[in-house]
C-alpha cells in the first residue's frame, strides 16, 4: 500500500518536474543564445543575435527539448564562430592582397598596351624618316613587332600564372 502510494507521489512529482522543465526550456534556450552572442565580437553581435533568433523561431515549432539541444550546441560552437570572425594575419594578408592582385593585373595589361603602342610608333617613325631604308627596314620591323608580341604574350602568361598562384595560396 505504502509502495503504491510512494510510486503515485513520485510519478506526480516527476511529471510536475518534467512539465516545469519543458516550460523552462525556451527561456533557457534564449539565455544560451544570448550567452553565445556575448562570445562574439561587438561588431558581429547584432547580426548573429537576429540570425539565431530567427532560427530559434523555426525550432520552437519542433519542440522545447530540440530547441534546448540546439541552443546548447550553438553555445558550444559560438567560440569557433568568434575565432572565424577574428582578423588573423593570413586573413589580413588575403584582404590586403586581393586589391593588389587586381591592380597588378590591370597595370600589367596597361603596360603591355603601352609597350605595343610605343613599338608601333617607333617602327612607324623609322619607316617615315628613312624611306630609302624601307626595303631593309620592313622585314626587320616586322620581326621586331612579331618578337615584341611574343614577349608580351610570355610576360602576360607569367603575370597571369603568378597572380593565380598568389590568389590560390591566400584563398580559403
Amino acid at each position: 500500500m505504502t509502495a503504491t502510494l510512494i510510486t503515485i507521489i513520485l510519478g506526480v512529482i516527476g511529471s510536475i518536474i518534467a512539465a516545469e522543465f519543458l516550460g523552462w526550456c525556451p527561456w533557457l534556450a534564449e539565455r544560451l543564445v544570448n550567452l553565445a552572442v556575448l562570445r562574439l565580437g561587438d561588431t558581429h553581435r547584432d547580426r548573429y543575435r537576429d540570425e539565431w533568433s530567427a532560427d530559434m523561431d523555426v525550432l520552437r515549432t519542433r519542440g522545447n527539448v530540440s530547441l534546448l539541444i540546439w541552443a546548447i550546441g550553438l553555445y558550444l560552437v559560438a567560440g569557433r564562430v568568434a575565432s572565424a570572425l577574428q582578423p588573423t594575419p593570413i586573413k589580413e594578408l588575403r584582404e590586403n592582397l586581393r586589391p593588389t592582385l587586381a591592380e597588378t593585373t590591370r597595370v600589367s595589361k596597361f603596360a603591355l598596351e603601352q609597350a605595343r603602342t610605343l613599338r608601333l610608333a617607333s617602327v612607324n617613325e623609322r619607316l617615315v624618316t628613312h624611306p630609302s631604308l624601307r626595303p631593309i627596314m620592313l622585314p626587320f620591323c616586322s620581326w621586331v613587332l612579331w618578337a615584341g608580341a611574343r614577349l608580351d604574350r610570355h610576360i602576360c602568361d607569367k603575370v597571369r600564372k603568378l597572380v593565380k598562384i598568389v590568389d590560390r595560396s591566400v584563398s580559403y
Binding site: D57, V81, A84, L85, Y172
Partner: protein, 99 residues
C-alpha cells in the same frame, strides 16, 4: 577542407543561384544544426559565400527575417574545383571509369 564544409558546399552548389538559411542548409547537408554556423562564417569570411537579410514584412509574415546565404561566383567556381578534386582523390577508380 573538412568533410562537413564539403557537404555544405555541395548543398549550396546544388542550387547555386538560390538562397538558403542556416537551418535549411544544415538539414539538407545532414549536419547537426549547431555545426553549420562556424562553417558558414568561415566561408563568408573567405568570400566564397555571401549573405543577406530576407526582405519580408515581419509583422505580416509573423516571423523574424532570416539570413540567407548564397555562393559568390568565385566561391561557386572554387567549390566546384575543390569538390571535383576531392572526388578524384577519394574515388580514383570511379573517376577513371568516368573518364
Amino acid at each position: 577542407m573538412t568533410l562537413q564544409t564539403q557537404l555544405v558546399l555541395r548543398v549550396l552548389l546544388r542550387n547555386a543561384r538560390g538562397e538558403h538559411y542556416g537551418l535549411e542548409i544544415a538539414k539538407a547537408a545532414g549536419l547537426p544544426t549547431g555545426t553549420i554556423y562556424p562553417i558558414l562564417t568561415r566561408l563568408e569570411v573567405a568570400a566564397w559565400v555571401e549573405s543577406d537579410w530576407e526582405t519580408i514584412d515581419e509583422s505580416a509574415e509573423g516571423r523574424r527575417k532570416r539570413r540567407y546565404y548564397r555562393l559568390t561566383s568565385i566561391g561557386a567556381a572554387r567549390a566546384r574545383d575543390v569538390l571535383t578534386r576531392t572526388k578524384h582523390l577519394m574515388f580514383p577508380e570511379l573517376s577513371e571509369m568516368l573518364v
